[in-house]
Symmetry: D2
Subunit: 359 residues, 4 copies
């Protein structure tokens, strides 16, 4: 029944509602001896905070993470290290205005989980979306920062960036510029046009979708056929982010129109001569960069009249106010990185086990 | 480490290599009292057998399934029923020609898992692709037929069909005609053009990709936030099929270009007025039909010279012969149905548990 | 790798070190609509607090539990209810004196996990035993109190009590008196003699073992053959408590000396005529009370010189001081109840699912 | 819901009924490169076959195991090796006489799972006990033989033997003689008296219980606190064998009467000076031999009149005939070894993963 854990060996359990006391994550299975401090995690959290990008709301969330367990500074060491016991991370909610949501407790907002949570559980914490709020992803980003510390030791690097927003597509993949614009876009010129698009749509009270691409450097051998293939696991990880409606690997949906002779990546003694596979063959990483793209739907909270029903199935119209972003991009970008990191950390441990045990 | 099981409560474990003695599936968690016979399963298996569609190879696989355990006919009953104990299904391999693959044991075929299996395991059953062969999906289809028996009792119906092949797209979704053509295509006219395309590409020794769409009637409430959301679980299930490189739900990648006001499905007392969500909101089914599309890559075994390397990393060219399909479509269509059924059976049981326990 | 979660459907993950910031539990899978408040949990926690029984140390642990997530009071309700989302429980550590343990960081205390934690993890939070401290069980008791709320609705009741301590055995099983003495003993006369034994051994700086018995009223049908049999699951649950070295069900080790004709419990239309089975047949509850006994080892921290080694394998003698109990009894009694409750809550949900899905 | 799998990383799923077509096991997670043949497994299976010991029935079960998948002989190798893919083992049932059980289909045999299977599943394959038959353990022994191949590479050895039967206790632990008598008893003189006891009880139509002890050589570091402690996992593994009613580690239930100063095992630079801990401290192996004892109940199928009820709850008396053993000992001895091996194989892989990932 429960669905709030992720991973088999590097296992994360998240908890917390948007307007509850706090939210957090427990990481079970992080190996001992990895350097970890609250500051290291905080850096990642700061990348997803509101106000950062032009598409985000002015709401201020301090989002300070605290490490409650699982690290220790040995007496003759200068560094805090993981101990192999569960790492508990907590972020207290400080900027919660429950009052502003009370008028929504009996109305189902279109595009939100209000109706489905009621159908499933028969009770729903409506304040700020409760557990279904995008705020839940803060715990994922915090946990992903722990995974990053492990991955770093094994030369695994994950970078996500915006390749489309509001119908504007990046033509370039210049990863050196993604830190230069607020949208994590690898095409500075496209980024500028995306910002214009955001400004226009904001004025109309509407919202925008887009596409995020994730690139990961990763050794060969990760992924567990046949059901826990690396591409399947990545797809699940990314599709578990609320706004994501599609996932593709390598050439993705373009393969539908390709010939086998076009799509196959030839091999040479120097490596693969192409990466239509997106770094994965038969569910196992092949040493080429992993390339994954996700489709991000427009934020459903729009400042326009919409037709809907109440909990009692009476027709009403609503106009959702409050502090809302124009797009899940760019805040979703670090969340995508976190989910890919958590997936790779889990599969790295699974592969290390297999190699250690190989006859 | 192990990745050969699928599902938490309706749990399937598959085993078997393409040219080994047999392949099979063990289903643990099927509720007792469900009618089940080998004939019921055989019907589904026959839908994926080679020779059925124009895109498939002439190889004859009898693929007779046997039920080894988990069913019983009570003395005063006329039906074989599940007993709640594990259901073991076995399909013996009869048409295996290991010899024809021996020249491939030290060469990595482009687009195949040869290189990655070696990288991961250090040993590889190369005969017919071993565990990485599409033949493995026969066990999935058999298990999916058991899931179908359970789903039927709860009015859940799953239908997959071909919506693109070799660049030809179906314009219509007339599910009443998908049994009338060999490609499971809901557009008879498009099906005819797809067959022409297949014939042409077959002559060239090349292969084709395409898109399969799956539609499922499903009650609201299925799916377990936040990591086991129904869309994430479906994405993983479908991406675990070897040829699948992309998965999208509802409007899918089109959401990238949409406004929130376009993408949101309004609600009325009679139900949703649109299905861009593809039947899932916040990871939980909303009662609308589930709509999922998967991108199917061209079969990598082409009858053309390709550049590659040996196990010892020496450059060679190969031309893969043998009995091969032109496209994973249509044989992949029943496999997609099976994976969606297995996912829904698992989440149905999870939701039944939650409802039974709700305070 | 990770081992800090318990249960499949009613799933508890605990975290926290004895002298860290806090310890806690996350419960994933608690059904929605169950009444829950911090007070309800606190009542159980207070039963295991030190100072309560004569065998416990004078250390004062306030141990106030806070519920961080997973409950909600609907606007027109007077009760806080679970929502089906994860319930996060936190107990902050207030009475931690890390200093008093610093001399133990390089010495392996006999009977403790110091040596094995080092062997496994290569790093060890030695303060108060770290994760291996009995203090960890506070999180179990808190989680068990949540399970109790669920079990109550299904008429499942669990009671643990002391049947032996320091070689003194209870002759009676009068459950009505277990609240009248500090040792949770169902034989008041034996309890008095146990207290005398404790006083004598305390003066000698030594410690005592004993036996706890658990009785649970439980409907038939719980337990999942063949590996998740109810008795196996209970054995694992109880043996996962640090001090427990043996578990037996019903007649337990006495069966070794019995004939089949003595051990079999005959059935009559009014029910079983005997309970040597301890309420479990073939791994499934039979409707009779579950009867389980656990052997509790003497607390290894004794106030006597002991021979041991340092981390560097140098011989030393140590005498463990500090605030220590004479016996894990009675504090372990509520922990045993908690573990049995968590096991039964998990198997109750599993059985509810099966019944709901039965054809 | 499902309970037919065991282990996290070395994962075994068993299936099959006593009088069905076959029974089997699928092992997922066995590392690649381990030598494995049907003969290696057969040797272990032969140790548990009926007719072997004086306490067993004259029934002949050929019990030939076949390996259906997961092994491969590379072209230039002389040995069959595991490939890292699932290993499917099947044992066909040849000596099944379903007829002889038909009169039992509506009667609940005392001490058996007839009543509880009906209560749980509502349907029951009564033939030979169906899934609840001791015959199910053949699949465990076969799987355990695979685990043994892995453990051998890591110098882990497991030996089980009979230390009590029918009230006669072995005084010696001379493991060199356990192959010399049919009861796997390490005390030849006691073995002779046990055989006399068996002969006498057989004549009376009754059956006997006993105690099996298991000793395992095992490196330090195995076991995953806090819930997957090695002792808890072993307890669950052994208690999942039908006839087992108690499990104890090291000093076991004797700890109840011991002082801390007696029970603690002191350490010296040469190792532990005692093994009351039974090789496990704080849930982690300490390098000393693991010592575990299990209480085995008398076989419930006795040749005497017993009082019971029908499925319709009518009182009847029955006298169970057929081919039955006098005691689960000695056939249970290899089953105990198998369950300990499966537990250690799983925890070995978990520990190898942790060591490989340690910072």
């Amino acid at each position: 029944m429960p669905g709030n854990s992720f991973g088999q060996m590097f296992r994360v359990t998240t908890w917390g509602e948007s307007h509850g006391t706090a939210l957090g994550a427990v990481i079970d299975g992080c190996p001992p001896g990895i350097e970890l401090t609250a500051e290291i995690i905080q850096r990642e959290l700061d990348r997803r905070r509101p106000g950062r990008g032009g598409a985000t709301s002015p709401r201020k969330e301090p989002d300070r993470v605290e490490i409650m367990s699982g690290i220790f500074r040995p007496e003759r060491s200068e560094r805090e290290l993981t101990t192999g016991t569960p790492i508990s991370l907590v972020i207290f909610n400080k900027d919660a205005h429950s009052k502003s949501y009370s008028h929504l407790q009996d109305v189902y907002r279109p595009g939100h989980g209000d109706m489905t949570y009621d159908a499933k559980y028969g009770i729903r914490d409506h304040r700020g979306g409760g557990r279904a709020s995008a705020r839940e992803t803060a715990a994922r980003v915090a946990a992903g920062a722990v995974a990053a510390q492990l991955l770093r030791r094994h030369d695994i690097e994950v970078t996500a960036y915006t390749v489309a927003l509001g119908g504007i597509y990046a033509d370039r993949r210049d990863l050196s510029v993604i830190g230069d614009n607020r949208l994590f876009c690898p095409d500075s010129e496209a980024a500028a046009r995306m910002e214009e698009r955001i400004a226009r749509v904001r004025a109309e009270g509407d919202t925008l979708g887009g596409i995020v691409e994730i690139r990961a450097l990763c050794p060969p051998g990760l992924g567990e056929p046949v059901f826990d293939k690396l591409d399947g696991e990545l797809a699940r990880a990314l599709m578990s982010i609320g706004a994501v409606k599609g996932v593709e690997i390598g050439a993705g949906f373009r393969v539908a129109d390709m010939l086998g002779s076009e799509n196959n990546d030839p091999l040479s003694p120097a490596g693969f001569l192409g990466n239509n596979a997106g770094g994965i063959l038969a569910g196992i990483s092949n040493g080429e960069p992993l390339i994954i793209r996700v489709a991000v739907k427009p934020i459903p909270s729009i400042h326009k009249e919409q037709q809907t029903v109440t909990r009692g199935n009476e027709p009403v119209t609503i106009k959702v106010g409050g502090r809302h972003d124009i797009s899940a991009i760019p805040r979703i970008v670090p969340v995508c990185e976190a989910m890919v990191r958590l997936t790779l950390a889990d599969h790295l441990l699974r592969q290390l086990a297999l190699r250690a045990a190989r006859g």
